[in-house]
């Protein structure tokens, strides 16, 4: 199994009481809540944490893209991935992912990812996402064209990476007479492509197609839901006439390891609950603008509204498998158990979440890396 340290880079110094009064930290929380001096310390702390992952023996480190939110301070994952490309030597760097429909032009994404791949000597994992619903409110990009733009942008990027240029591209959203990307990516035919998703049949159908066979990552969902979607992915591959490899499946989940179960729970509790109940919180209309999902998916979310949008405690979250938390032995056994059921070839652990401070984040990373990671690496090997 490949184990990835995933970071969201939240604004951990957030005034939680004020954020609660605003109802959400997305789109509308005034940016006067952001203090650039504190931000300077946080960015550098977070980059140090990601760089430390190489020393601790993780296979990859991962950054992602979110806009106008305290949830994550990476409107451009290109910036953080670039900094990491120069400060690390061996570890893979995953951008999970670039929000293609939100970008003015996909060729810029093709260029930026290719640059990082070339600078890092072929260590880039490219992730493509649509951006979450809230970000369609942020940019004014029409969410009813989101799938369309995503697919067309993807096609253009992969062709720009693989076909000798210059060539012309005529799409509905992007039209270019000279596609001729410099630099070309270091990896042949191109960097691996991963598709993070909160669970959608449309995405699974597309990512699992025999022409693509992209790694599908289920993010921040109860373990049962992760299992359902990973099984759906395998079943879809089977329907396409091939057996999914474990490397095509991944799970992204917050993790907290401490000396004992009790201590882990107590230390993680306020920070995880801030992550789940403040940083992730937004109204359904903000999360799912019209056309972002199919009408059926939207109705399913509306039915499960209380469950999805209600507040939960860390105890409930552990029970649901929304977070894996405990002593090294507990966490190891939990992942071994989940792995036997799901056989995911990639595990993305979020070792910093919400307001979790630097000392606890490092302790968490060290305990995980020394006492959990070695046995996970052997799974499926």
């Amino acid at each position: 199994m490949q184990v990835v340290l995933f970071h969201l880079m939240p604004y951990a110094d957030l005034d939680l009481e004020s954020a609660r009064r605003h109802g959400t930290v997305w789109v509308k929380l005034p940016n006067t809540h952001f203090d650039p001096v504190k931000g300077h310390k946080l960015y550098n702390r977070y980059l140090d944490e990601l760089e430390y992952a190489e020393e601790l023996g993780f296979d990859a480190i991962s950054v992602n893209e979110h806009h106008q939110t305290a949830y994550g301070l990476m409107p451009s994952p290109i910036v953080t991935a670039s900094a990491l490309a120069r400060r690390t030597k061996r570890i893979k760097i995953a951008i999970l992912g670039s929000a293609l429909p939100l970008r003015e032009h996909p060729l810029m994404v093709a260029e930026e990812h290719a640059m990082i791949d070339v600078i890092s000597g072929g260590r880039l994992i490219s992730g493509f996402v649509r951006g979450i619903g809230a970000e369609y409110h942020t940019f004014g990009v029409n969410p009813t064209f989101s799938h369309d733009r995503f697919h067309e942008a993807h096609d253009l990027i992969v062709r720009a990476w693989t076909e000798p240029g210059p060539f012309a591209f005529q799409g509905r959203h992007y039209r270019v007479n000279y596609v001729n990307t410099w630099p070309r990516p270091y990896q042949r035919p191109h960097p691996p492509i991963w598709i993070p998703s909160q669970g959608s049949k449309e995405t699974i159908d597309w990512a699992s197609h025999p022409d693509r066979r992209y790694t599908y990552l289920q993010t921040f969902s109860p373990a049962k839901v992760v299992q359902r979607y990973l099984k759906m992915y395998r079943d879809t591959c089977a329907a396409h006439g091939y057996a999914a490899e474990d490397r095509q499946l991944g799970w992204a989940v917050p993790v907290y390891v401490a000396e004992t179960d009790e201590r882990a729970r107590a230390e993680a509790k306020p920070h995880f609950e801030a992550f789940r109940n403040v940083f992730l919180k937004m109204p359904i209309e903000m999360l799912l603008p019209p056309g972002y999902t199919s009408r059926e998916s939207l109705k399913n979310v509306m039915k499960a509204k209380a469950e999805i949008f209600g507040e939960i405690t860390i105890d409930k979250a552990i029970e649901l498998g929304l977070v894996v938390c405990g002593s090294p032995a507990t966490v190891r056994q939990a992942f071994e158990g989940y792995w036997r059921e799901m056989r995911f070839g990639n595990l993305l652990v979020l070792c910093q979440f919400g307001t979790l401070p630097g000392d606890l984040t490092r302790k968490n990373m060290e305990l995980f890396a020394r006492q959990v990671l070695p046995s996970l690496k052997g799974l499926g090997a």
Binding site: G140, V141, N142, P283, E285, P289, R295, L298
Partner: protein, 158 residues
């Protein structure tokens, strides 16, 4: 929609009644951000008189109505998410509407503030503008009697 047709040809249009329509931009004013509203907020913001909103909200909602509402919302976004609730070129062509025009607007419209009514009148100076006091986005529902009287009077040339 009616204006988009009328600017192309009025050969089959005798007159036009416009009731709080979207379609143009106006300086210093924005349409409400309807896509961030919950279904309840939408109903409340349609009416000036909250008793009418509450009566509407008290009605049971069938699964068919949920589907229709979601479909309408999708279509509204498809057509009017960006540019928001207007056609950036329509204003250049409104001078072609030469048939009689009546514009009806609720004074307390929170979705498209009454400033849009005045902008429409600037673009179609021959239009007759009627602003209905104590009324929201749906004059035909909120002030039905007055609305019907004045539309009938206009249509009969009075």
């Amino acid at each position: 929609m009616a204006m988009e047709m009328a600017v192309r040809s009025t050969s089959r249009i005798q007159s036009l009644v416009l009731v709080s329509p979207a379609g143009i931009s106006a300086p210093g004013v924005q349409p409400a951000y309807i896509f961030m509203w919950s279904p309840e907020e939408l109903v409340r913001n349609l009416f000036h008189d909250q008793k009418l909103a509450e009566a509407r909200l008290a009605e049971p909602v069938t699964p068919e109505q949920v589907d229709i509402a979601l479909k309408n919302r999708h279509t509204a976004a498809r057509l009017a998410w960006e540019p928001r609730l207007h056609d950036p070129f329509l204003h250049k062509w409104l001078h072609r509407v030469t048939v009689p025009v009546k514009i009806v607007w609720g004074e307390n419209d929170t979705i498209l503030p009454v400033a849009y009514a005045r902008e429409f009148q600037k673009l179609m100076p021959h239009a007759e503008l009627e602003i209905i006091p104590a009324c929201g986005h749906l004059p035909q529902a909120e002030k039905a009697d007055r609305f019907c009287d004045s539309v009938l009077r206009f249509a009969s040339g009075g």
